[in-house]
C-alpha cells in the first residue's frame, strides 16, 4: 500500500513561501502528474515527498505513516532526476546496483534485479558502459532502471523527459506509461509540458504560484477547467479568451463579442449565468471549436457564424492553425488543411458553442463549475 497524503503541506524559505498549504490525496498505484509553469512549486512539492527538501509545515503520509522526518532512504521511494544524476565514474551496472549494494542485498539478488530491469528497459548491452558513453535517451533508461531495481512503492520523476528531443520524448512517454502499468507502483511525475500531463496521467494536479489550481482527470481538466489559468494552460494551441457581454434572449442567454451574438447552449445552468446579465465576462472557446462548415453532428442552435481576419496560417500537416483577429483580439482556429485562407482575408467560420467556458472577469474563476 503506497497511498500518499499531503495535508496542508507548505514550504517556506525565510519570508518567502513557495508552496502554500497543499492538500492532496494520491491513491495507491495512481499515476499522478504535477504540472505548471516554472516556479509554481511542483518540483519543490516532489522534493518534499522525496525527503530532499525539509517540510516547513503540514503532514506528509506515505502508506498511512507520517514521514515528515523520515530520511529519504527509508521512505520506500525512488527518484528519477531531470539531469539523470548517474554516477559518472560507475558503469551502468554499478549505477543500477549501487542502491542495493548499500542496502547489503545479496550478490545474486542484485544481479537478477539489475538484469531484469535492464531487460525491460532494453539496456542489457549497455551494462558495462559508463554514462558518458551513452546518449540522452539511454541515460534516461539507466536512470529509470536505477529506480526500478529496488522495487520501490513510489516512483518520483522530476521532469525526466525535458532533456530529450521531441521524437524521443514521444517514445519515452509511451514507455513510461507502459512501465507504470507493469510495475504496479505509484508514480508521481513533475513536468511543465501539458502534453506529457494529458497523455500519461491518471489525474493531473495543475499548480501555480505554490497553490493547487485543480486536480482532475486529463479529460475533465480539458472540458471543465475551474479557472482561466487552467483553461489556458491545458490544451495547445491555447483556449481563446474573448471578453463578451451577456444578454438575455428569450429564455436563453447570448454572449456578444465583436457586435455578434453567440448563443450560449441551453444545457448551461441559467441560474449561474443570470447574475452576469448585462455584464461583461470572458468567453473561452477552444481553437478546434471553430469550423469551416457547420458540422452535421452538432445541433444548429449551438452554432454561430464567426468572422475574423487571418494574420498568419501555420500549416501543421494534419491541420492548419489560423492566427486571426476579431474585435481587436487575437485568436487561433484549428481548421482543415483543405481550407485555403490568404493573409489579410476575412474568413467566415462557424463557432461551436457546445463546450465554451465562461469566466468571471475579476476572479478569473469559471462560473459554470
Amino acid at each position: 500500500m503506497a497511498s500518499i497524503s499531503l495535508k496542508r503541506l507548505n514550504k517556506t524559505y525565510g519570508a518567502l513561501t513557495v508552496v502554500h498549504d497543499i492538500d492532496l490525496e494520491i491513491a495507491d498505484k495512481e499515476f499522478i502528474i504535477l504540472v505548471g509553469p516554472s516556479g509554481c512549486g511542483k518540483s519543490t512539492t516532489l522534493r518534499m515527498i522525496a525527503g530532499l527538501e525539509e517540510i516547513s509545515g503540514g503532514e506528509l503520509r506515505i502508506g498511512g505513516d507520517l514521514v515528515n522526518d523520515v530520511p529519504s532512504k527509508d521512505r520506500d521511494i525512488a527518484m528519477v532526476f531531470q539531469n539523470y544524476a548517474l554516477y559518472p565514474h560507475m558503469t551502468v551496472y554499478k549505477n543500477m546496483a549501487f542502491g542495493l549494494q548499500l542496502r547489503k542485498a545479496g550478490r545474486d539478488f542484485i544481479d537478477s534485479q539489475v538484469q531484469d530491469a535492464a531487460k525491460i528497459l532494453d539496456i542489457t548491452h549497455l551494462l558495462n558502459r559508463k554514462p558518458k558513453a551513452l546518449s540522452g535517451g539511454q541515460r534516461q533508461r539507466v536512470a529509470l532502471g536505477r529506480a526500478m531495481v529496488r522495487n520501490p512503492a513510489v516512483f518520483l520523476l522530476d521532469e525526466p523527459l525535458s532533456n530529450l528531443d521531441a521524437k524521443l520524448r514521444g517514445t519515452m512517454r509511451a514507455e513510461i506509461t507502459k512501465l507504470h502499468k507493469r510495475l504496479d507502483a505509484t508514480f508521481i511525475y513533475v513536468t511543465h509540458d501539458q502534453i506529457e500531463a494529458m497523455t500519461m496521467a491518471d489525474r493531473i494536479v495543475v499548480m501555480k504560484d505554490g497553490h493547487i489550481q485543480q486536480v482532475d482527470t486529463p479529460q475533465n481538466l480539458y472540458d471543465r477547467p475551474v479557472n482561466m489559468f487552467v483553461a489556458g494552460f491545458i490544451g495547445a494551441p491555447q483556449m481563446n479568451m474573448l471578453p463578451s457581454l451577456i444578454e438575455r434572449r428569450g429564455d436563453g442567454y447570448v454572449a456578444i463579442f465583436d457586435n455578434r451574438e453567440l448563443p450560449l447552449p441551453a444545457h448551461f445552468d441559467k441560474a449561474r449565468i443570470a447574475p452576469y446579465e448585462g455584464r461583461e465576462l470572458v468567453l473561452g472557446i477552444r481553437p478546434e471549436n471553430f469550423h469551416e462548415l457547420p458540422p452535421a453532428d452538432i445541433s444548429p442552435e449551438n452554432l454561430a457564424p464567426f468572422k475574423a481576419v487571418v494574420e498568419l496560417a501555420e500549416p501543421m500537416g494534419s491541420e492548419v492553425h489560423l492566427n486571426m483577429v476579431a474585435g481587436g483580439r487575437g485568436l487561433i482556429a484549428r481548421v482543415s488543411p483543405r481550407f485555403k485562407a490568404g493573409i489579410g482575408d476575412e474568413v467566415a467560420l462557424v463557432a461551436d458553442m457546445t463546450n465554451v467556458q465562461l469566466f468571471d472577469k475579476e476572479t478569473e474563476r469559471s462560473i459554470l463549475y
Binding site: G51, L52, K73, I77, F81, A85, P88, G99, L102, R146
Partner: protein, 316 residues
Amino acid sequence: MSISSSTAVVGRPTATPRRKIKVLSRRRRKIQNALVAYSFIAPNFIGFAVFTLGPILFAFALAFMHWDGSNAITFAGLDNFWRLFEDKAFIAAFWNTIIYTVVSVPATLVCALGLAILLNQKIFGRDFFRTAMFFPYVASLVAVAVVWNMIFNPEMGPVNMILYTLGLDPKDMPGWAADRHWAMVTVILFGIWKSMGYYMVIYLAGLQGINSELYEAANLDGANSWQKFIYVTVPQLAPTTFFVTVMLTIQSFKVFDQIYMITQGGPGTSTLVLVYHIYNEAFISWDLGYSSMVALVLFFLVLAVTIVQFRRQRED
C-alpha cells in the same frame, strides 16, 4: 585605391602578372600575421629565454664541467657524475628529499581536503576560517619561520610547555628542529601548515563543481555521509586530486626556503635536501659544476615522477 586598380585588372587575358602579385601578397600577409603573433609572444619569451631557458641549458652543460665561478671553465667529463656516489651528503640529501615528499604530499593533501570539506559546510564564521587557513600561504616565510622556531623551541616553546603540562617527561620531550630525530618532522609540519591553505582553496573549487544531484541520488540510494564521501566526493574530485598531487610533488622535491629558515639542513644532514645541497655546493663551496650535476639529478627525478603520474592519470 588598391581595390580599384585590382578590379581594373579582372578579366584581362594577360593574367600571369596579376596572379604573381596575388601569390606574393598572400605570402606577405602570412608573414605579416606571423610577425604580429611573434611580437605578442616576444616580451614573455625573451624574458623566459634570458632568465630561465638560458641558465637551464648552461647548467646542463656545467654539469660536465669544473668551474668555481671565477676561473676558467674546464671540461670534466663524467667526473661530477661519479662523485655523486661517493658524496655522503648527496646520498643523505637524496633520501631526505624522498622522505620529505613521501610524507608531506599525502599529509598536505589529506589536510587540504579535510579543511575544504569542513569549510564547504554552512558553518558560522566560514569566511573567517577560510581566510585564516589561507593566510600562512601568503604570509612572509621569514616571519612565520621565526614564529615557528619560537613555538617549537625545545626549552621554552609553548608546544613543549603544553606537552609538559600533559604529563610528558622532560627527558622524552621532542627537541624539534634541534633534534636530529625530530628535525624532519618539524620541517614537514611547517610545510604542511604553510601550503595546505592554498590547496584547500583548490579543493573548495573542486567541491563546488560537484553536481549536488549526485548527493541527492546517493541519499535516495541509502548512502550515509561516509559512503557519499567515498562514492561521490572522492571520484568526483579525482581531477583536482591529480592536479594537487602533481603540484605538491614538484613543490616537495624543490623544497628549500623553509629548511634554510628553520634547520639549515641540520642537525648533521638530518634535513639536508637536494636543493639545499645544490645551494651549499654552488654558493658555499663554489663548485658550480658539481652542484649543476646534483641539479640535473633533481631535474630527472621530478621529470620521471611527473611522467609516471600523468601516465597513471591517463590509465584511470
